[in-house]
């Protein structure tokens, strides 16, 4: 770059201003992700809760619903306790089915069987069905 017209100090000032501007942009580009990364999650939690009316879950009947985009199921034991489980079989991911006459879950893909508590009775599943937190709120059941 030939120093024809402007003397070095003048050019330098211009360049430094330019560099300062670029650095400012880069600083902003770094600050934004940093702030978003550190900001607390919206909604104060890891996801939304789902409400299901109590009347949909009779004893011996399994109520299937969607929970955070994935299939889930509610069952009520004879003693009146509610159990919320993920309906995704822990073997390879198929959705389990409820066998009303046997009172257990059966996975149609490879015959895995789960108790209403989610525990594995028999078959290939390696782990029990994931339990979801459920609480009673008047005549609603809140999951999550």
């Amino acid at each position: 770059m030939e120093s024809t017209s402007s003397p070095p100090p003048q050019r330098r000032t211009f360049l430094l201003v330019l560099a300062g501007g670029l650095a400012g942009l880069l600083a902003a580009a770094s600050a934004w992700p940093l702030l978003r990364f550190l900001a607390p999650a919206a909604g104060g939690g890891a996801g939304e809760r789902v409400a299901v009316p109590r009347s949909s879950v009779q004893p011996g009947v399994a109520h299937f619903f969607q929970f955070r985009g994935k299939p889930a199921v509610l069952v009520q034991s004879r003693s009146g306790e509610y159990q919320a489980l993920s309906a995704v079989c822990t073997h390879l991911g198929c959705v389990v089915q409820w066998q009303a006459e046997k009172g257990e879950f059966l996975c149609p893909c490879h015959g895995g069987r789960f108790a209403p508590t989610g525990n594995v009775i028999s078959g290939p599943p390696p782990r029990p069905l994931e339990t979801l937190p459920v609480s009673v709120d008047g005549n609603q059941l809140r999951i999550g």
Binding site: L16, L22, G69, L92, G93, C109
Partner: protein, 270 residues
Amino acid sequence: MKRGLLFVSVALFWLLPVGLALAAEMPETVCLQCHGGQAGPLGAPVKAWQGSVHQRNGIFCHDCHGGDPADFANAMSPARGFVGAPEHAAVPEFCGRCHVGVLADYRESLHGVKLAQGGAQCVTCHGSHAVKETSLELINEQSCTRCHDYGRAAQIKTALAETDARFAGFGEELERLKKLGVSVAAAKGALFDLRNRYHRVFHSFNVEKVRAETGRIASELEKLRNEVAGHDARFSQRKLWGGIVIGLLLVLGVVLLQVRHTYEEEERDR
């Protein structure tokens, strides 16, 4: 002595999974030890089973046939659950102990209804030991015309073909996204479930039922496709912003070098 034992156990514990993996997950059950060394029809199932989808998922002889896999004396003992090889009409029950959903659909089908009269069952199309992953090619003229004409089978195959291809495509897309760090476990499970529902419904051999289920499955696949597209859109956007920031950095670097240049010039002029 203790150190030697320690060394051996460390080596074994590390070598065992390596060895297992190398031997394609084949611990030697007594079934394999005995039948593996035999010629002719008694040894053929072992070779057929190797490379099968069952072998790759750790399903061994005793998992279907029962018996004790570790004890030669009781390997074929009915007391230990040995059921032997099923007769033609008992095959669906045999396979259906695990493949529950398929059995239910099969029973409703014409093949299932005609089972006692020698109708096709699981082994007829899928084979017994050399079972591969299901593919549309199991439906082919050669296979189906063993008993009847190919017309309806061809119809069903056409109805299935497009969706089947999309399943394969999705599987690859999810693998591609996985390599970019996306958490695809849930999507893979959903895809697996869909594929199984799909393959299962085929066993009813009911064209209308297959078409209806195909329609339902297509809409689920559409949701999956949107999910994949969403990820790809995010990646494109990242590349755009990333490219801009990289450009800014390069320009800044050049500008700084120019600043340096002005100092050098000043010196030269002095």
